[in-house]
Symmetry: C2
Subunit: 175 residues, 2 copies
Amino acid sequence: MRPQSDSNNPRDLPSGENLDRDARALYDALNQLIRVHQFRDRDRICGYDLSVAQCYALETLVHQGPLRLQGLASEMYLDKSTASRVVDALVRKGHVDRVADPVDRRAALIRPTVQGEALYQTIRADLIAEERAMLEGLTPDMRQAALTLIRQLTQAAHRRCGPGPGTLSSVEDET
Amino acid sequence: MRPQSDSNNPRDLPSGENLDRDARALYDALNQLIRVHQFRDRDRICGYDLSVAQCYALETLVHQGPLRLQGLASEMYLDKSTASRVVDALVRKGHVDRVADPVDRRAALIRPTVQGEALYQTIRADLIAEERAMLEGLTPDMRQAALTLIRQLTQAAHRRCGPGPGTLSSVEDET
DNA sequence: CATTTACGTTGCAGGTACCAACTAAGCTGC
DNA sequence: GCAGCTTAGTTGGTACCTGCAACGTAAATG
């Protein structure tokens, strides 16, 4: 439906024509990247007796501080019932605990335990080591560019993804 | 908490020190990106009465042509039993079919039906439109750079993580 | 031909996910 | 204060995804 104006030099086009082609390429590339990371993370995290969802929840709690269940669910794009069960599992394993919210006795604040925080840091260090290995083949310039681009892509996707309840904004950290 | 070797000048270091920091940043950025995409894909694909795994299988079959179950499982980093069930679902929905392998009567070749191929193209077009919208804010140069980097990251991760659970073949590493 | 190996399916167990229904607690209106 | 509604979280039910183990069948090997 979008005819490639191949009569002209395809490199000089003002970013209108190649957009489709780049979009296709990006879709495929991102697909690959996401799948590889997904499975790598899963296998690696399972070695620590955590599921991926549990690890994600723990990570969210470590980063965002104590959260109510609803907040955690929003942050994870999950139903509150699913979040509840994930928290159950983490409580059973001793990685988080529920404390009564002082201002609302219906609510419970969920926060990582010392053990949970330590476990998360261990896993994080492990995964970061993987990223580190991947980055070793890139020049510092390229690494910076990669970061910038990935963040922009995330921002764009997040904006479009629409009503993200918690609006996770934990992207910006050390410069 | 990581001991920064601050006794030295951090600006002159030959990319050894900043590597850690970049690795951390990459981990976080990739995390965000993957999550956003994951949920976006899930919601979007579910609108077509396909699960993500089913869509991934269909995509693999469309891209790679007819595959045996084992090949599909390897491609998806899944156990063959899981792949079998995913294929079951796709067969039930009429998106793929199994044909007997002419040279091996144990095996079955799985291939998309016309309907399955059409469905995949529809979904793909939909998802690509999303990527396209995301790319609109980037310059052509940045888009190219993003592609290159994402592919390199994928390559690196793929090399490191190796094949998934269901894979027994295709990894002859002679030690 | 018997054994071994490979392909795929099925049984089992556990995780993930949603919706809907439920309990408990807060908040309104009277 | 107590109905009645809303909100926070839990639980039941259902369905899917996933891997491991155990099969049946077919090919390969001796």
